[in-house]
């Protein structure tokens, strides 16, 4: 169980949740205590994920730090967590981003205890997705990661300037485009649409595998019918793809990123979009068929193989289209948001090569992009606090006035380039 008897992945996952509970029940009206609880609990996750990262046996590879508790035996649902090379990196990324995010939100004034509680709950969801092996629990965590977003953006977000124009101008006016409520609702509807696809996919696999277990490891042993695989892969691709920002289902992401408060933007672009790519890689692609048995991942080798052209094509569109759109933006947050769309294309293109090198590149890109986007959004938050604007053409001379921010931004840019 766990690592030397310590359920380490459980600790990483649930520490922020405990923090959220502590905040709600003990730290009401003590803003400093709220922040300290947040910092300590996410700090625990950070330290432990570093430990997991270092303790992971790269020679043995595969899933390690395995824990299992049966939840609903008749349906084969259990709390089953483990980490392999991919989830390891992403867990580390998540803990770095949330730990910095806690400090990036230090100046949140309105209802800070609810803000921090929701943020921490959300992070528990993210950690849970990355470590769960039971698809049912995986899905629960996934929903947990998506729902607090609505409140975080809708309450603490900021509105952007979008002028309704073009032939759909009336529709945009009617939906209230640009406001934070609009962004929050759009994001939630989109992501829930995605989860509907995912749920159908998971249930289809569950039934096809005999209806006795939701465990990833057992499903991995089952050989699914190629036709089923083809359809289920498509379901997963669309469902997770929404979260990964695949074109043309990406438009929630710039609006969402731009409206979200700093820490949420960081988490959102840095980690949440990776959830989508992770889902596609983990549940969809089976690389074992193409030479990497030891990674032991993916359930749908044939399905992947049939659709990989689509994944690759859309990923390429994402890269170019996202980059061009980013160039056209004048709001700093939109620039970074579109660059995320572009970078997620790179991740999916790497995965779509179905080679070890491509997958390694994709995972590394997820980590690098997560860190750098997190940095960008944190910096934009700081800039906004000082300049009260995000319009790039109203800015200038930051190198003289805020050399630290300018340097960090240049570093991020160098990383992106």
């Amino acid at each position: 169980m766990g690592w030397n008897g310590i359920p380490i992945l459980t600790l990483i996952t649930w520490a922020p949740f405990v923090g959220a509970m502590l905040i709600m029940f003990t730290a009401r009206h003590h803003p400093l205590a709220v922040r300290l609880i947040g910092a300590v609990t996410t700090g625990i996750s950070l330290v432990l994920s570093l430990a997991v990262y270092l303790a992971y046996d790269t020679e043995a590879a595969g899933f390690q730090f395995y824990e299992k508790i049966s939840l609903v035996p008749p349906l084969g649902i259990s709390y089953e967590v483990a980490a392999d090379g991919i989830s390891l990196i992403l867990v580390l990324l998540t803990s770095i981003i949330i730990f910095s995010g806690v400090f990036a939100s230090w100046t949140v004034q309105t209802r800070s205890q609810e803000f921090y509680a929701l943020l921490l709950v959300l992070v528990t969801g993210v950690f849970g997705v990355f470590v769960s092996l039971d698809l049912f629990v995986f899905f629960l965590f996934y929903e947990l990661a998506v729902l607090p977003m609505y409140l975080l953006i809708g309450i603490w977000g900021s509105s952007a300037q979008v002028r309704p124009r073009g032939i759909f101008g009336w529709a945009m006016r009617e939906t209230g485009v640009g406001s934070k409520e609009y962004a929050a609702m759009k994001l939630t509807l989109y992501l829930l649409l995605g989860s509907a696809f995912i749920l159908v996919g998971i249930l289809a696999l569950y039934m096809a595998a005999g209806g006795s277990s939701f465990s990833f490891l057992e499903m991995e042993g089952a050989a699914f019918d190629p036709v089923l695989q083809r359809w289920v892969f498509l379901l997963f691709y669309v469902g997770f793809g929404v979260l990964a920002g695949i074109w043309p289902l990406h438009t929630w992401s710039p609006d969402g990123h731009a409206s979200a408060p700093t820490a949420v933007s960081m988490l959102h672009a840095g980690v949440l979009m990776k959830l989508g790519a992770y889902g596609i890689v983990r549940l969809g692609m089976k690389l074992g068929a193409y030479g990497i048995v030891r990674l032991g991942m993916g359930l749908l080798p044939e399905g992947t193989h049939d659709w990989v052209w689509l994944v690759g094509t859309i990923a390429t569109i994402n890269i170019v289209y996202g980059a061009l759109s980013a160039m056209a933006q004048t709001d700093l947050k939109y620039v970074i948001a579109y660059s995320s769309v572009s970078h997620m294309g790179i991740v999916l293109l790497g995965a779509a090569t179905l080679t070890e090198a491509g997958l390694n590149g994709a995972v590394f890109q997820m980590f690098a992009h997560g860190i750098m986007t997190g940095l960008f959004f944190a910096l934009v938050g700081l800039v906004y606090e000082k300049a009260h604007s995000r319009e790039i053409f109203k800015m200038g001379g930051f190198g003289r006035m805020m050399p630290g921010i300018a340097t960090a931004f240049t570093l991020g840019g160098a990383s992106a380039g």
């Binding site: 979008v162 124009r165 073009g166 032939i167 759909f168 101008g169 009336w170 529709a171 945009m172 009617e174 939906t175 485009v177 759009k186 509807l189 043309p248 438009t251 609006d255 030479g291 990497i292 289209y321 061009l324 759109s325 160039m327 056209a328 933006q329 080679t355 070890e356 090198a357 390694n360 001379g397 190198g399 003289r400 160098a414």
Partner: protein
């Protein structure tokens, strides 16, 4: 120590210095201390490279470590490759870096300590990247260092980032070279697709065994050459180099004269066995090189900024090197790279001394400086004579070798262009010399000669330029050139003619410069507006790229997202419509129930 260890030491020292300066802020903010650390590190590199150059075995030394894992062995490796080419380049880079960093202590004495520390941090990073580029043993690694030197160039051009021109020039340099790098990386990947390796030694082996697939190789090598076009400022991507002069003068001396801009030439020399398989691409390189040389020389004629004159002369000399490579005389091209690195660094540092003393770049505000700055005048004259190609300065021998190589390579028209360039080079360089150091009007202010920390590097470079030339002359000097007897005479004659003409025009005033400008009016106007290339690129950028991105941005916001909003607006409308049947009045609902009941009854009867 063996060659591999020495090379790694030369590479590692500047890196350690950079890391220390980057992560220990108090050290960086100490300014001069940071400078001392960086200078010590590059001094160590210089020492290691010198020892390496002396003790290098005949065959090349290669060290590799596996890197990108993939099925069936690593996809790429990291490593170093030391042969005579790399070792010579290593010495040049370390030497010029060392001297420039030393000189900067004097040149940037008025900077604040944190700015000075930042400057030296960048310099250490640059030294590391450039040495890494030189030592790279495969294309992928070379590309990484290639980009790193580009980044350093960006950072150092924009060192005075509060000056808008400097910030703009930095971005321009970055983007224009990136345009070439795009071809470079595509070429690398395509080559990998063909050959299955990034490794130079493996590729050379394949080239020697004739096992390298030749289909599409010309395109691949052309794409790789594009990287060199950007970096080495070949036509039509030369536009960034003159603007890069906005950076501090020592930076121009190091990066934009001696080392980084020569990286393109080094790249072509490095993978010359591959270029030899594609004679068409080589011929193109030769033609473009010669054309660049001539074009840049005409541009150099009309500049009033002393650094811009030198910048165009750098572009022009890089054209010489490329022309030699294209004509098949790789050794001559590389030889010119080495000598040019020395005397062009000398010229830039000399110009820096002048700028430091006078406080302006405009040659028309200078004059008679040989009185106030005799030392600078002498070393600048040494550099100019070397650049003009006068015996027995080092430049004479390398230029002669290039001309002979191009003639032997059968590129007659490029040869003529280069010969004309020799004349123009002597003319525009001595124009600067006569106007700045002699002339009739004294300069404004009270110029003075530079302190030892600046004059020392100048003298070292001057002595090397002259000493190398003399040693070549003493040893016969003709070992590098195999061309006909008349070429050195022709080149010297043209250079002397250029000098005399410049003397007549700018010293004696026997020939009016205005009259010259009138005679060659179309050319003069075109050169003044840089042949409108900058405007063309500006138009392309604004019109095509920005226009296209705006279009995509608009499509995304108003069509793709518009459709999303359309769906949502329709949902809202339908919902609103359906809401109206819920009136809240009980009798309406009763009517509904009754009507439904009626329908059910009718339906069950009909059935």
């Amino acid at each position: 120590m063996n060659a591999g260890t020495l090379a790694l030491a030369a590479l590692g020292l500047p890196f350690c210095s950079f890391v220390l300066l980057a992560v220990v802020p108090p050290l960086r903010r100490a300014g001069r201390v940071a400078g001392a650390l960086s200078i010590a590190a590059i001094g160590g590199s210089l020492l290691a490279s010198l020892v390496l150059g002396r003790t290098l075995p005949r065959e090349s030394v290669e060290l590799t470590w596996p890197w990108l894992p993939a099925e069936g062995g690593p996809m790429a490796t990291v490593g170093i490759l030391v042969d005579h080419l790399a070792a010579s380049m290593l010495v040049l880079v370390a030497l010029v870096s060392f001297l420039v960093q030393l000189y900067s202590l004097g040149y940037l004495e008025h900077e604040t300590p944190p700015a000075l520390g930042r400057y030296y941090a960048y310099h250490s990073l640059f030294a590391f990247s450039m040495l890494g580029l030189v030592l790279a043993s495969n294309f992928l690694q070379m590309f990484i260092f290639w980009e790193l030197v580009g980044l350093c160039s960006y950072l150092l051009i924009g060192f005075w980032y509060t000056k808008p021109e400097a910030a703009r020039a930095a971005v321009k340099a970055f983007w224009v070279t990136k345009a070439g790098d795009l071809g470079f990386i595509i070429g690398i990947v395509l080559l990998w697709g063909q050959a299955g390796t990034f490794q130079f030694s493996g590729l050379f082996q394949m080239a020697a065994d004739r096992t390298l697939p030749t289909a599409g190789l010309a395109l691949i090598m052309f794409l790789i050459y594009l990287g060199a076009v950007g970096k080495s400022a070949q036509f039509p991507l030369h536009v960034w180099l003159p603007d890069a002069m906005e950076g501090p003068t020592p930076v121009s001396a190091l990066i934009h004269a001696a080392t980084m801009v020569a990286a393109g030439v080094y790249l072509v020399s490095r993978v010359y066995p591959l270029f030899l398989l594609t004679p068409d691409v080589l011929a193109l390189i030769g033609w473009v090189g010669a054309f660049t040389a001539l074009l840049a020389a005409t541009l150099g004629l009309v500049q009033a900024d002393i650094k811009r004159v030198l910048a165009y002369s750098t572009v022009s000399q890089l054209g010489f090197m490329m022309a030699a490579l294209g004509a098949g005389a790789a050794a001559a091209g590389f030889f010119h790279l080495l000598t040019h690195g020395l005397f062009k660094a000398l010229l830039f540092l000399g110009a820096g001394a002048v700028i430091h003393a006078v406080g302006t770049n405009d040659i028309w505000k200078m004059g008679r400086l040989y009185r106030a700055m005799p030392q600078t005048a002498i070393v600048f004259l040494v550099g100019t004579l070397a650049l003009a190609g006068i015996w027995p300065f080092a430049g004479f021998f390398s230029k002669d070798a290039v001309l002979a190589g191009v003639w032997e390579g059968g590129l007659t028209t490029p040869f003529l262009m280069l010969a004309l360039t020799v004349f123009l080079t002597a003319f525009y360089m001595f124009r600067v010399v006569f106007v700045v150091f002699f002339g009739n009007r004294p300069a404004e202010g009270h110029p003075h000669d530079v302190p030892l920390v600046m004059s020392g590097p100048l003298w070292i470079l001057a002595i090397l330029t002259l000493g190398w030339g003399i040693s070549l002359a003493a040893s016969g000097g003709e070992e590098k050139a195999h061309g006909p007897e008349w070429i050195p005479w022709l080149a010297s004659g043209l250079a002397v003619a250029g000098i005399v003409f410049a003397w007549l025009t700018y010293q004696k005033r026997a020939v009016s410069a205005d009259a010259l400008a009138r005679t060659f009016r179309p050319l003069y106007v075109a050169a003044l507006s840089k042949f409108w290339l900058d405007d063309l690129y500006g138009g392309i950028y604004r019109g095509l790229l920005l226009g296209f991105s705006r279009l995509v941005g608009w499509v995304d916001r108003y069509l793709v997202d518009g459709l999303v909003n359309l769906a949502s607006a329709w949902t809202l409308r339908w919902g609103d419509g359906l809401r109206r049947i819920q009136t809240g009045r009980a009798q309406d609902y009763l009517y509904g129930v009754a009507f439904g009941l009626l329908l059910v009854i009718v339906w069950s009867y009909w059935r």
